[in-house]
């Protein structure tokens, strides 16, 4: 049974990569893609995904803000941060704010799937 995921990243390339990984696993259905924090709030409300992959650095509203807002509207939301190397402090902040886990670019399909699986099955 496919779980529903919302992909949030300002780079189309990254969204495509994550999408490929998730779809190829056969266990995930991508129900939406957002390119900034503000968009992600809208899409979360309408699509109600099981999990969100959230990039940190984005225009308009960054990933940490967006995570905060999503959790405000749905305290049970499961958000996994996608960070680039060298952003440990931001990742830590995100987790402190309520993100459940994180994955680091460049992604390995195996790692991504493992993390998302663990989070969604809690």
């Amino acid at each position: 049974m496919a779980r529903k995921v919302l992909i949030v990243d300002d780079a189309m390339f990254m969204r495509a990569m994550i999408r490929d990984i998730l779809i190829n696993s056969g266990q995930w259905e991508v129900v939406g893609e957002a390119s900034n924090g503000r968009e992600s709030l809208e899409l979360y409300r309408t699509m109600k995904p099981d999990l969100v992959t959230m990039d940190i650095v984005m225009p308009q509203m960054d990933g940490i803000e967006a995570t905060k807002e999503i959790l405000k509207s749905d305290p049970k939301a499961k958000v996994v941060m996608c960070s680039a190397l060298g952003q440990e402090a931001l990742v830590i902040e995100s987790i402190a704010v309520g993100a459940k886990d994180f994955i680091v670019k460049p992604f390995s399909a195996e790692k991504v799937l493992k993390v998302l699986d663990a989070v969604v099955s809690e």
């Binding site: 402190a96 459940k100 886990d101 994180f102 680091v104 993390v115 663990a118």
Partner: protein, 634 residues
């Protein structure tokens, strides 16, 4: 818990903490040399480690120190007396580490420790009175004192979590684990704390769970989380691994000295190979590639220096030890002693340092016991009441000078003279002819002493024979100076063998062997084709313009007009050594001789030349002196 596994770590880190605290207690302009929070953390770490190892006296004492630092941290100004007490505690902690190193436990000094600790506890208004017996279960920490959550002594279970080393953000990973655990168990403590893990990029942390927790289930659950490689259940206190207590951006790794030596030798070999390679090139090739070769050589030299500096230890370690001995003796003998030192940040070969420790401590004991007078004597002699002991480390071109001096009464030279006669070593007339240096040298003969009583401190005799043999085992020598009523100075001259030295390679006709003298000793090379040799009385001399330079009367082979005079400075002035051929200068590692050649003064060691020959490296000054003596006798 198997503590022997952790013993080395405990000793190494314990000493590091002690050294840092000691350095921090040095006052400059009336203020401590370190941030009080740092001092607190160091004492705290030491306390935790000692407790984990079961060394309760050490832990208790460290706790006393920690409490004192907490008082200072909370705003009280450290008084001179308090600082002095703190230094005393640090010295004792050091001694307790020694005890553990020797005997595997710290019980011998336990009583003394609790006494010192009690003294320390007096005079704090707001400090928690430190009881002399500090037990793990009943100790109550004052809230708000510690920066990190519950210390290691809280009973309960612990999970040691290892994050996959491939994980790029271990701190974030630990935070995820921590949140998960908090979700199951409420408050959970993590050690080291998040900030430290971040700073040190650490991959191991210990979580303290409340007692009665479903620890096994938690362990399994955590283990199956992403990026977690292993989880251990700890039944007893783990070893507290702080990031070395140094909150800096510099990370360090432990490397064994043997490994460094191998690296050093290999680098030396690389340099040697390069020399061989270069020497085998035809001249035009050499010219063509000279920049590349120079570049390569300079990189290798830099690598050599790098490894060397990792191999070398700051002299401060020795200085601290001497300082501690001075403080012990000063109070044991009720003599006030000031200690000054210079050059402590010089880096020295670690093994050299070990060998120098005993001789230096011996000299220090002598200085305080015999050299320094009582306060009254000093006052009546117009000297300041506290005696001065000065330790200086001075690097020279091919040697390191370790100079220990005091401003005491000096050595009783006439008494030495009398003693020499009494012991039948010399007749009255012979003894009268001996100069001061020769008389002082007599002190280094075993069992020669001018003090009739044996004191507990220095034992039988002045014991300088021990010092001299230790120094000579390092291919060095001992110089002694004394000024009656003013003080004594001991200089240990240690050649630094672990380094590359420029030497001038030369030889004599008909003699197959090659010889070398460190470049730094050679002042000038005089070609004999345009310098004349002449006689001044019975001494052969080289004419250098108007001056006559005495020639060293040593010639393993004939030297003709196509030879050279190597001019160098010796104790007696400038001298010239006549040689047939001068070959080249080379940067080599001078390897000291083993027995029996090492016993001959002046033969510094051997060096492998690029040509593959072995060069006998000589100390020109010493050779000239000895040959001069021989010549005089003849």
């Amino acid at each position: 818990m198997n503590i022997t596994k952790y013993l080395d770590m405990y000793l190494e880190e314990g000493r590091s903490h002690v050294a840092t605290i000691r350095a921090g207690l040095n006052t400059a302009n009336g203020a401590l040399s370190a941030d009080i929070n740092e001092l607190f953390r160091q004492a705290h770490s030491l306390k935790g480690m000692a407790a984990s190892m079961g060394f309760t006296p050490t832990s208790s004492l460290a706790h006393g120190l920690e409490s004192l630092f907490a008082v200072w941290r909370d705003g009280a100004t450290p008084s001179d007396d308090q600082i002095k007490s703190a230094v005393e505690v640090v010295d004792l902690l050091d001694a307790m580490l020694d005890d553990v190193q020797q005997n595997g436990n710290d019980s011998a000094l336990a009583e003394r420790a609790s006494l010192v600790e009690r003294n320390l506890g007096q005079g704090h208004e707001n400090a928690t009175p430190a009881p002399s017996k500090w037990s793990l279960e009943t100790r109550e920490e004052k809230p708000g004192r510690e920066r990190t959550s519950p210390p290691a002594e809280v009973p309960g279970m612990k999970l040691k979590v290892y994050v996959d080393p491939a994980s790029p953000l271990p701190a974030a990973r630990f935070l995820v684990v921590s949140k998960k655990l908090k979700g199951w168990f409420g408050e959970v403590a993590m050690a080291p704390d998040l900030a430290e893990i971040q700073r040190g990029n650490l991959y191991t942390a210990i979580f303290s769970l409340p007692p009665g927790s479903k620890v096994k289930e938690a362990a399994h659950a955590i283990e199956s989380l992403p990026e977690i490689s292993r989880v251990e259940l700890l039944e007893t206190e783990p070893v507290r691994r702080t990031a070395g207590g140094k909150h800096s951006l510099v990370r360090s790794v432990r490397v064994s000295i043997d490994d460094l030596d191998i690296l050093l030798n290999q680098t030396g070999d690389l340099i040697y190979n390069l020399n061989v390679f270069e020497s085998g090139l035809p001249p035009d090739e050499k010219r063509r590639f000279r920049f590349w070769l120079e570049n390569y050589r300079s990189r290798l030299n830099r690598q050599f220096e790098q490894v060397l500096s990792a191999r070398l230890v700051p002299f401060q370690v020795l200085v601290d030890r001497v300082g501690r001995t001075i403080r012990q003796l000063s109070s044991a003998m009720a003599k006030e002693v000031r200690f000054e030192y210079e050059g402590a940040d010089q880096r020295v070969d670690g093994t050299l340092l070990e060998k120098l420790l005993d001789p230096l401590l011996h000299l220090t004991r002598n200085a305080i016991d015999h050299g320094l007078e009582s306060a009254e004597e000093r006052a009546s002699a117009g000297k300041p009441e506290s005696g001065l002991i000065r330790l200086e480390i001075r690097p020279e071109a091919d040697a390191i000078l370790v100079i220990l001096s005091d401003d005491g009464r000096g050595m009783d030279v006439p008494a030495i003279r009398r003693e020499a006669v009494e012991r039948g070593l010399y007749t009255q007339t012979q003894a009268a002819r001996l100069d001061e240096a020769q008389l002082l040298n007599l002190l280094t003969i075993p069992a020669f002493s001018t003090r009739k009583e044996v004191t507990e401190v220095s034992g039988r005799g002045v014991g300088l024979d021990v010092v001299r043999s230790a120094v000579e085992s390092l291919s060095g020598h001992l110089n002694m100076e004394s000024r009656s009523g003013k003080g004594s100075t001991f200089t240990l001259v240690i050649p630094s063998a672990v380094t590359l030295t420029d030497i001038l390679v030369f030889g004599w006709e008909g003699v197959e062997a090659r010889f070398g003298i460190p470049n730094s000793q050679i002042r000038h090379i005089h070609p004999l084709s345009n310098h004349q040799l002449t006689w001044a009385g019975e001494k052969r001399c080289l004419k250098n313009g108007e001056e006559l330079l005495p020639v060293v009367p040593w010639k393993p082979g004939p030297v003709g007009r196509d030879g050279y005079g190597l001019e160098f400075a010796s104790g007696e002035g400038r001298r010239v050594l006549l040689v047939s051929s001068v070959y080249q200068t080379e940067k080599v590692m001078i390897l000291p001789w083993g027995p029996p050649l090492e016993m001959v003064p002046g033969w510094m060691g051997g060096a492998l030349l690029a040509t593959g020959d072995l060069a006998f490296v000589l100390d020109a000054r010493v050779i000239s002196k000895r040959i001069g003596e021989v010549a005089d006798v003849q």
